[in-house]
Amino acid sequence: KEDFVGHQVLRISAADEAQVQKVKELEDLEHLQLDFWRGPGQPGSPIDVRVPFPSIQAVKAFLEAHGLGYTIMIEDVQSLLDEEQEQMFAFQA
């Protein structure tokens, strides 16, 4: 089963079209293995992206270098998944 320990979900705010385009550049960097939960769209709409642990520093550096604001929406994806599984097993039990 795929493991998401250390993966974070960042919520990026792109204020204008230029910033949206910057995020799209990020989307094209396949080696980062980014998973866009909410893709880049209209300026001002939140952009949510799951970032694997090995890519986190690079992504945050890129965002900061281009003045893109972000918050950490989910600190550790795996911990939420563990909670979800526990809840399901508790019910089944």
């Binding site: 893709g39 799951r50 929406m73 989910i74 939420l80 809840q87």
Partner: protein, 310 residues
């Protein structure tokens, strides 16, 4: 296993097997109202089921609702289960739903991407696409919401099999999509088509692949406004509404652009809640509230469809 749909737990996420057994229980409990149709088999050979809610007649005007076309959007399949139970509870009790079912049929496909859904339980909770293999690529799956024959191949989808928005080699390449296409065409009397996704609290209507307004844009917009107002009345969950391309981004090959092109005027896509923190990992405690508020919007659209025959 639950012994009846009354003891079934709607406030937890379930596996494919549990959902399929729920369907069988519901049919067994309401044989006069509910039947289960198999509209095809998935790429990996799983049956694709649709629940039909009908009080009689022959090929009546119908409403289609599907959930779970993107497999990781678990709150949608869970909401679909809740909708199914709600319809059986409210028929004969709720005036509006009774009027709808006395004149129309409702088709509800709860697990629209069974292979992907099974994979989210077994291997990768974040899986979104189908599980079909693409010759010449080591990457798996096609985005079933980019594979429809509406603007297929245009901007707003990817031709790279390794991306989450990969459109597939050709329109309807995915049997999970083709099965619905064939069903809609053979039925020929569907008047509203509602495809439910999560997340980001949106109610969307065509088009996604082009900026040109849909001919029925004003009516669709007005109805969307009524629907999201009804939805917000329960818990205050705020939805935005508008055409796909204007509200989020360009998306080609999408479900409701195709259904609209088939003359199904009331074609909508929902993006259900996340109150801004969990994304696809919405806690199970929010399943029922999400389903309840969404139901109010669905009921608004269904009632309008009943009252505006075309």
């Amino acid at each position: 296993r639950s012994r009846s749909t009354d003891t079934f737990n709607y406030a937890t996420y379930h596996t494919l097997e549990e959902i399929y057994s729920f369907m069988d229980m519901l049919v067994a409990e309401h044989p006069q109202l509910v039947s289960k149709l198999q509209i095809g088999n998935t790429y990996e050979g799983r049956p694709i089921y649709v629940l039909k809610f009908s009080t009689g007649g022959n090929n009546r005007p119908a409403i289609w609702i599907d959930t779970g076309i993107h497999s990781r959007e678990w709150v949608t399949q869970a909401s679909g289960v809740w909708f199914a139970k709600k319809i059986t509870q409210d028929y004969g009790q709720d005036f509006t739903l009774t009027a709808i079912l006395d004149s129309m049929d409702i088709f509800l496909e709860i697990v629209t991407n069974p292979d992907g859904f099974a994979f989210t339980h077994s291997k990768n909770r974040m899986w979104r696409k189908t599980r079909s293999l693409t010759p010449g690529s080591s990457c798996v799956g096609v985005d079933p919401n980019r594979n429809w024959d509406a603007g297929f191949g245009m901007a707003g989808a990817s031709s790279n099999p390794c991306t989450d928005t990969y459109r597939g080699k050709f329109a309807n390449s995915e049997v999970e999509v083709k099965s619905i296409v064939d069903f809609v065409k053979s039925h020929g009397n569907i008047k509203a088509f509602i495809s439910i996704h999560s997340y980001s609290q949106l109610l969307l209507y065509p088009y996604g692949y082009k900026a040109e307004p849909a001919p029925d844009r004003d009516e669709l917009d007005q109805l969307a406004k009524s629907a999201v107002t009804a939805l917000a009345s329960l818990y205050g969950t705020k939805f935005k509404y508008g055409s796909i391309i204007k509200t989020i981004y360009q998306a080609s090959g999408s479900t409701i652009d195709w259904t609209y092109s088939q003359g199904i005027k009331y074609s909508y896509t929902f993006e259900l809640r996340d109150t801004g923190r969990y994304g696809f990992l919405l806690p199970a405690s929010q399943i029922v509230p999400t389903a309840q508020e969404t139901w109010l919007a669905l009921r608004t659209i269904m009632e309008y469809t009943l009252n505006h025959p075309y």
